[in-house]
């Protein structure tokens, strides 16, 4: 499987490194890839989730 590089600023990379370790990822790259996958999944599903949320909220018990 091929790979590609993405530039991020140094300050952000330091944070990525720090939290990748704290969160138990084996490397900053794994952490970043996981974050991006999740974010994309969220975007792809956002419409239907929002729709569900609106319907559920009408219950009154949930905000």
């Amino acid at each position: 499987m091929g790979s590609a590089k993405v530039k991020v600023d140094k300050g952000l990379y330091e944070k990525v490194k720090k939290y990748a370790g704290l969160a138990g990822y084996s490397s900053p790259a794994e952490f970043v890839a996981h974050c991006l996958e999740k974010e994309i999944a969220t975007l792809e599903e956002s419409d239907s989730e929002e729709e569900i949320k609106k319907k559920l909220k009408g219950l009154g018990y949930i905000s």
Binding site: Y19, L22, A23, G24, H34, C35, K38, A41, T42, E49, E51, I52, K53, K54, K55, L56, K57, G58, L59, G60, Y61, I62, S63
Partner: protein, 669 residues
């Protein structure tokens, strides 16, 4: 888009061909048509009237009976009647509790454990009561999608309803608005659906609010509503009323109806013009039901009914429009058995509310309606309910009549803060004005019962019952936050904890448990959940016991109390064919506590415990022993500790019908 109003009504069958697609229909079912059987109803010598008063609390009820506040109840007791605390369900949520009564089982026997469940393959919360299948095959022509096979909506409650059992024995029954009966199960009995019946958008109720007040200009009003920014130009306001999504169009756009409001330049009065009709409202006046029609296709439309309320004309313009109910005169979705019953009632009474729980608690909770306005709306609901009850009582002469009232539940949810000085949302000024609301609704129920008693003779068993009691909701418990802090749930991006919802920030590969719904906790079980990590069998059982013990040990640092009184392990408390749907642990909260606002949908607020400062201030998610309901009979009750499923056995016993093997109750008389 604007609609001409010339389309012919869209029949239920045609509508359901679209299934869920018509977003209107999300959570709706019933493509399986009721099978009309033409045979005579048997004649029963005994009669039973059951009046359901949602959330009638045993503690408050007993206090007010004792003080002479409830004369009709008192009269029944003096004449040989009896009342007891009524054991509610685990958990004491209305759909669960009413299902216990409907089927004579516990959730293991009917499969409804919470308002919400989740799809273990996606972890997404979803309604537990209904399921909608979209049309499986469609044909696309340009921007239009035509269904080639029907979708359908299904009532997911298992077990048989007691009125179906009565039907087997030719005992006629009329069952009005019992919760957890949407879509109504097939029967030749007369039934009208209640709680869980959606609005025309397929939701539990979304209001619309039109204003030029800047502070109100947010798209979502915090749940249950939508705020529209409008402009007053030359005493004229234009608005759009949103309806269901149009599944005939490939992109499924939301349909809209244009309307105009003409404001009197001098007086606080306005004229609303919508779909060629017009009506005049004074400031602070409700419109009565207005029919609206959304055109799906050049020759097809879906009808609804809604209330307009002119809250303010000047200095700011404020117009509230209630959620759009399914029109009972031409129901696009199944709301009664037979189908014609809703239409028959509509012909007699005109339009009436059809959405489950019609009082708009969301509008009050979000300051769109104030206390007075909310009560006025719920008074309309109560008045409609009483008129329909009188009608059904007047023609009741055999079998069983069940009738349901929601106002007790809804008013206790919204006004408990004003009888509880220890509540974070207590307001002494409001308490002085509205501190009597809850007592007054108990009195209103007493008066309703007086109307019932005119139809109770010596052969009639009268049962008054509630599904659960009530208690204050002062503090919210963030179950998912607690799971995270306790090492059972892992976030992928811990720094985004507070923004998480729908488990969009969960690292499932390192998560062992999660909370969904108002009382449920699930283990992330291998083979069941998509990314399950906990092995079934001993590994899971040990983890369940460990988490349950820890939950019961949690102490609120502010009050010193245990928020979770009992953490019920599913296998210990449920029986029946639907155990596989159960959460692994069901939380029974202590008095004053409930699940937080955000945890049920997979949110992770910062704190484990938080004050509830909202108007929604009374609730019933507690341990069943904390909030029993009430059962009252016009005969002696021999059972010392009756429960909901015992009432089912009682009803069948009166008619000499043996309960089925899955029913777990016994008669209380």
């Amino acid at each position: 888009m604007s609609q001409s109003g010339k389309s012919r009504p869209f029949s239920r069958r045609e509508f359901l061909k679209f299934g869920a697609a018509a977003a209107t229909a999300a959570g709706l079912g019933g493509a399986k048509a009721f099978v009309p059987k033409v045979y005579g109803r048997g004649r029963a010598t005994q009669k039973v009237i059951v009046i359901g008063m949602d959330g009638l609390d045993h503690g408050l009820f007993g206090r007010w009976v004792e003080s002479g506040t409830l004369p009709t109840f008192e009269k029944i007791l003096r004449a040989g009647g009896d009342f007891r605390p009524l054991g509610t369900s685990i958990p004491p949520q209305s759909p669960v509790a009413w299902s216990n009564f409907i089927t004579g089982t516990d959730p293991g026997g009917h499969g409804i454990y919470d308002f919400l469940t989740r799809d273990p393959k996606t972890y997404i919360p979803e309604f537990s009561a209904t399921e909608t299948d979209a049309a499986r095959r469609t044909l696309r022509i340009g921007n239009t999608v035509l269904p080639l096979s029907g979708g359908r909506v299904r009532n997911l409650r298992g077990g048989r309803a007691f009125w179906q059992v009565l039907e087997d024995h030719d005992v006629p029954a009329t069952v009005i608005r019992i919760p957890s009966n949407y879509p109504p199960v097939p029967t030749r009995q007369l039934t009208l659906s209640g709680m869980n019946t959606p609005d025309i958008k397929g939701s539990y109720g979304i209001f619309n609010y039109y204003t030029n007040e800047p502070r109100g200009l947010v798209e979502e009003a915090g749940g249950g509503g939508r705020v529209h920014e409008v402009y007053v130009i030359g005493n004229r306001v234009e608005g759009k009323l949103p309806g269901p999504n149009n599944s005939f169009r490939a992109d499924g756009p939301e349909m809209e109806i244009d309307f105009k409001v003409f404001i009197d330049p001098v007086n606080p009065v306005a004229k609303v013009v919508i779909q060629g009709r017009e009506f005049i409202l004074k400031e602070k006046e409700w419109s009565g039901w207005q029919r609206v029609s959304f055109g799906l296709f050049p020759t097809q439309s879906v009808g609804g009914i809604c209330l307009f309320y002119l809250k303010e004309v000047r200095p700011k313009f404020k117009l509230y429009v209630s959620p759009i109910h399914i029109d009972p005169g031409r129901p696009a979705l199944p709301i009664s058995t037979p189908d014609s019953y809703a239409r028959e009632l509509e012909r007699r009474f005109g339009p009436f509310f059809t959405k489950g729980l019609p009082a708009d608690t969301a509008a009050l909770d979000n300051d769109v309606l104030d206390e007075e306005e909310f009560l006025r709306q719920d008074d309309l609901v109560l008045q409609e309910s009483l008129e329909l009850m009188d009608y059904e009582l007047s023609r009741f002469d055999e079998g069983l009549l069940f009738y349901y009232f929601s106002s007790t539940d809804q008013r206790q949810h919204m006004f408990w803060r004003l009888i509880d000085p220890g509540h974070p949302a207590y307001d002494p000024e409001l308490a002085a004005r509205y501190g009597g609301v809850i007592k007054n609704v108990y009195v209103a129920m007493d008066r309703a019962l007086d109307r019932v008693m005119k139809n109770v003779d010596k052969d009639t068993l009268l049962l008054v019952m509630s599904d659960h009691g009530f208690n204050p909701f002062r503090r919210g418990f963030n179950l998912n936050t607690w799971l995270m802090q306790s090492g059972y749930h892992r976030l992928a991006r811990p720094w985004q904890q507070a923004e998480s919802s729908f488990f969009d920030n969960t690292d499932w590969s390192k998560t062992r448990a999660y909370g969904v719904g108002l009382n449920g906790l699930y283990i992330n079980e291998r083979g069941r959940e998509r990314e399950g990590v906990v092995g079934p069998g001993a590994e899971k059982a040990n983890l369940v016991r460990e988490i349950a013990a820890k939950l019961e040990g949690v102490v609120d640092p502010v009050t010193g109390e245990h928020p979770v009184l009992h953490a019920y392990v599913a296998g210990d408390v449920y029986h029946g064919a639907y155990l596989d749907r159960a959460p692994d642990i069901v939380l029974g909260f202590n008095r004053g506590y409930r699940i937080s606002w955000q945890s049920p949908l997979g949110g992770f607020p910062k704190e484990v415990l938080e004050n509830n400062t909202r108007k929604w201030s009374g609730d019933h998610m507690g341990s069943p022993d904390v909030i029993p309901g009430v059962v009252l009979a016009n005969r002696a009750i021999r059972s010392g500790a009756p429960a909901l499923y015992d009432l089912t056995a009682t009803v069948l016993d009166v008619f000499g019908i043996n309960k089925s093997p899955d029913m777990i109750g016994t008669t209380i008389l």
